[in-house]
């Protein structure tokens, strides 16, 4: 090989994610992943509920005590928002898989719809929770 292999030319790089303007589509895309990781913890809490129920009234009472605390309710609120967002964004991904809705305008509208659905569904569920005495 000649000397050419030793000279490292600085190649032009594409704009880094930090200098790129945030689009709603990009924001909801990363939020889909973040909520997914959050729901990983949520499913472990669901498993904890079933395990504590099988262990008897004492363990169940302790579990429900933790989940009924202020911190527990905050976690449940975040999980409900995550569930509805991840659900809506997942549906948009399923629609995208069919090749529909990938044009910029449709993708943006879909992103707005996922955020709107997540917020509205979360509020509705917590209103129902307050009305039925589940809080």
């Amino acid at each position: 090989m000649s000397d050419a292999s030793k000279t490292i030319r600085v190649r032009p790089t594409s704009p880094h994610v930090q200098v790129w303007r945030w689009h709603l589509t990009a924001l909801t895309s990363i939020a889909h992943r973040i909520t997914g990781v959050g729901l990983y913890v949520g499913t472990l809490i669901l498993a904890g509920w079933a395990i504590s129920l099988a262990m008897g009234p004492e363990a169940y009472g302790a579990f429900m005590g933790v989940m009924g605390s202020v911190l527990g309710k905050l976690v449940m609120f975040a999980l409900s928002l995550a569930v509805f967002f991840h659900l809506a964004k997942g549906v948009q991904h399923l629609i995208w898989d069919t090749g529909v809705g990938l044009k910029l305008q449709a993708a943006n509208a879909g992103a707005v719809a996922t955020v709107a659905f997540a917020i509205v569904a979360t509020i509705v569920v917590w209103i129902i929770a307050a009305m039925t005495g589940a809080l």
Partner: protein
């Protein structure tokens, strides 16, 4: 030295593992199944949040509740195993760390999925005897 290998022979085995389609389909099938199950699950949580131990046991004694909760649990663990796998593969590039985290992900999902499923069946079949 002359190389008599064909370009195809040199490329063989260097490409994708060949089972990406299975993972892709698993993610889609579990996500479609989870749409109705999760919506049912939200209302189950609303009901269970105001249930004491006896009410929760009675709720789980219903075959419909027991089966739907078992399906929600198992499919959720499958789905989150697939999802977390992609997250690990995307961000962790050191081979040993990646392998360790992928194993941990699988084991956590299998362990807690099995614990939850057994617990659901135990309560549903025994009526809360412990």
């Amino acid at each position: 030295m002359a190389d008599f290998r064909t370009p195809f022979s040199r490329a063989q085995g260097l490409g994708a593992a060949g089972h990406g389609v299975g993972h892709w389909i698993t993610e889609r099938v579990t996500s479609i199944a989870l749409i109705p199950l999760v919506l049912w699950g939200v209302f189950a949580v609303l009901r269970l949040a105001r249930s004491d131990y006896d009410m929760a046991v009675a709720w789980l004694a219903s075959p419909i509740n027991a089966v739907l909760l078992a399906l929600l649990t198992v499919i959720s663990f499958m789905h989150m195993n697939s999802g977390m796998r992609v997250v690990i593969e995307d961000y962790i590039h050191r081979k040993i760390t990646k392998a360790a985290l992928l194993l941990l992900n699988l084991f956590v999902c299998a362990l807690f999925g099995a614990l939850a499923l057994f617990s659901i069946l135990k309560v549903a079949l025994s009526g809360g005897a412990y």
